[in-house]
Symmetry: C2
Subunit: 125 residues, 2 copies
Amino acid sequence: MLSKNYDHIILLAHGSPDPLWKQPFESIYNEVTEIYGAEKSSLAYMELTTPTLEDAVAALDKDVRSVAVLPLFLAVGRHLRKDVPAQIEALQTDDLSIELLPPIGDDLVVKNAMRTAIAQHLGSA
Amino acid sequence: MLSKNYDHIILLAHGSPDPLWKQPFESIYNEVTEIYGAEKSSLAYMELTTPTLEDAVAALDKDVRSVAVLPLFLAVGRHLRKDVPAQIEALQTDDLSIELLPPIGDDLVVKNAMRTAIAQHLGSA
């Protein structure tokens, strides 16, 4: 069961020309699909590599009506303020609503983890 | 006390032309300096905004001999494989060693937090 009435969540990473760059995102995505199934989530890239957000939307089951896009980004910049909303605007239809969520870096769990990771490098104060 | 014998850690974020993009990194950095002091860590950006990595190195105390650069990135791509190592190479001297750490997204604590954040959006399996 998806929370907040989304039928499907697209994890959206930035994208890179470097194929090795995708590995950590694919690794997380594979774990997510093991738990929730591939019909509940997909992985897409904003630019520079595939699958694109358009590819991910085109691959959705026909009965999917509401999609959330969760950016695997640490912060909101031009991409999440302008580029991705424009991509989403072009992909929405009367039968498919697409909501852009805040980036995963905004999540308190992730913020706390980054603090912890930094503290591990800095040692005791 | 810093772990692994670094005198100082530079948190290195990507950089964006969007000034609001810096806020989450500045927020984490401010918390880090509250605990460890500004002499133990600094925040820099790889491109598109300041302070640059060069600025951060120029501002180091004269007694700093070993610096770690911790990328606030989720994955290793061209930037961390080529651009940042080249910047570091140009900034190292006989009196200053600079080590590039794996990106914070490689940290198990951060990976687990991203899984948790995604699971919160997906709800119960």
